[in-house]
């Protein structure tokens, strides 16, 4: 009974933190920016009409409200009907909680693309960027050490032939996760500059902030896996949902931290006084996608859909749990997305004869 109460408290904290407190903070931040740096004076920050941003904020608020309500109802149902409190809902609910944030991120990328299209002026610093400019070598060393320690740990545990533990599966998942996080780090350091107006100092702060967060997530995920396995070995699997929920809350707090607004240089977004009707021009810019760019998205969508469907079908066929289905489906979707991107790049190469940078 005490496990159920403990889980209920921790899961309630997850619901409130990720669907109420953190989104509320994000909404206040975005509203502050809209009010303090309005389109009339900072036209470069708003390639779309102000109504678009108002609608996006309203939708974000509504989605989080709905997910919060669903979470509270789910918690109530679990408390009333469950005898053990071990419903495998923590992971799927966490994925649902992240949907509004993912949609917001995708919208941000769309805005950045419009900002790049709005101006022919491009700026860059003639300074190389290296990984260790943004994170201490000790942190990377720690990340690698924890990962290698997990491999040793997994091999050791596998010697006991525990039916619920597969060393290969665990190592593969963690390796995939670390490769993914490494990809995000490298893309941010060496990849395309998303915001064309962003001051270089702000970009460095953003990269440093992101790199440190990803390194932390990697270390936390590896440690979480180890702790989970140890708890299972000690016949404490009833605590797994509670530990998992706590872990997701830590990840959410670290992953959704943002740089302080007063540390960002907004002067770079000021309307250019030389250009006439700059604000009006920006307000009127609509997203123009060529037929090729539209088909590029179709390749990706088809890839993700097939990958996801294939992964889910495979997991279902193998009798996987809900978590397993979501995991394998996610991996399938990721592979499908990769193949979709590769196909679109190959088509682009055939059409233009060189790879497209945009």
């Amino acid at each position: 009974m005490s496990d159920q109460i403990l889980f209920s408290i921790v899961f309630l904290a997850q619901i409130l933190l990720i669907s109420y407190y953190l989104p509320g903070k994000m909404l206040r931040r975005m509203t502050y920016v809209l009010e303090t740096y309005p389109p009339s004076a900072y036209a470069k920050l708003y390639p779309k009409p102000i109504a678009y941003y108002d609608k996006a904020l309203r939708n974000f608020k509504a989605m989080n409200g709905f997910i919060l309500l669903a979470g509270l109802l789910l918690l109530a149902a679990m408390y009333v009907y469950s005898t053990t409190g071990e419903w495998d809902v923590v992971f799927p609910y966490f994925m649902v909680q992240f949907i509004p944030i993912m949609i917001l991120e995708m919208g941000t990328f769309k805005i950045y693309r419009l900002m790049r299209k709005a101006s022919t002026i491009r700026k860059a610093e003639l300074q190389p960027r290296r990984l260790f400019y943004f994170v201490a070598p000790k942190m990377i060393g720690l990340m690698l050490f924890v990962y290698l320690a997990f491999i040793v740990f997994a091999v050791y545990i596998s010697a006991f032939d525990l039916p619920w533990f597969s060393a290969f599966e665990n190592i593969a998942i963690l390796t995939g996760m670390n490769l993914f996080l490494t990809g995000i780090i490298l893309w941010n350091i060496y990849g395309k500059k998303q915001d064309p107006y962003q001051a270089y100092e702000d970009r460095k702060k953003h990269i440093a902030h992101l790199v440190r967060s990803m390194v932390f997530v990697s270390i936390a995920a590896t440690l979480f896996n180890m702790i989970n396995s140890v708890f299972s070995a000690w016949d404490m699997r009833h605590l797994e949902p509670t530990i998992t929920s706590l872990y997701f809350q830590i990840i959410a707090v670290v992953g959704l931290r943002a740089i302080r607004i007063d540390n960002i240089d907004f002067e770079v977004y000021k309307t250019d006084p030389i250009l006439d009707n700059q604000a009006e021009k920006n307000q009127l810019i609509e997203e123009e996608t060529t037929d090729y760019e539209k088909s590029k998205h179709i390749y990706k969508m088809v890839g993700v859909s097939f990958g996801l469907a294939f992964g889910i079908a495979l997991a279902f066929n193998e009798g996987a749990t809900i978590k397993g289905i979501m995991l394998i489906g996610g991996v399938g979707g990721g592979v499908g997305l990769f193949l979709g991107i590769a196909l679109s790049l190959w088509v682009s190469h055939l059409r233009t004869g060189d790879s497209s940078m945009t």
Binding site: T120, I121, R122, K123, A124, L126, P128, R129, D354
Partner: protein, 126 residues
Amino acid sequence: MEIVIDTGSSHPVFSQLIDQIKKAVLSGALNPGDTLPSIRQLANDLALNHNTVAKAYRLLERDSVIETKGYRGTFIHPNAKANSTVDLNAWVISKLTEIVQGFKESGVTDSEIRIAFGNVMNNRTN
């Protein structure tokens, strides 16, 4: 040292890159031994094709304004300041002007000059 490119300008982008890096060397903003970003990083930062930045770097290396040391990266050449004042394009134009003037004084027509120039560029002879 910030570099600013206008992709809407009639001046080729790679040429803008070359001019700005040379100006930075002459003004002292870039000094011999300073490291430049990789082609990939600069291309991504400026949202340009790799080939455009690669061409600029290649021409700067030809002019001994920069030097590439393999995996270690790209650096400002020790004699970059002296070499940055040399404008190869301007030299080619002035030389060609002299030669074309000479041909015209000899009675060669404009179209004959163009055809001969094209043949020479394509390594063809009559």
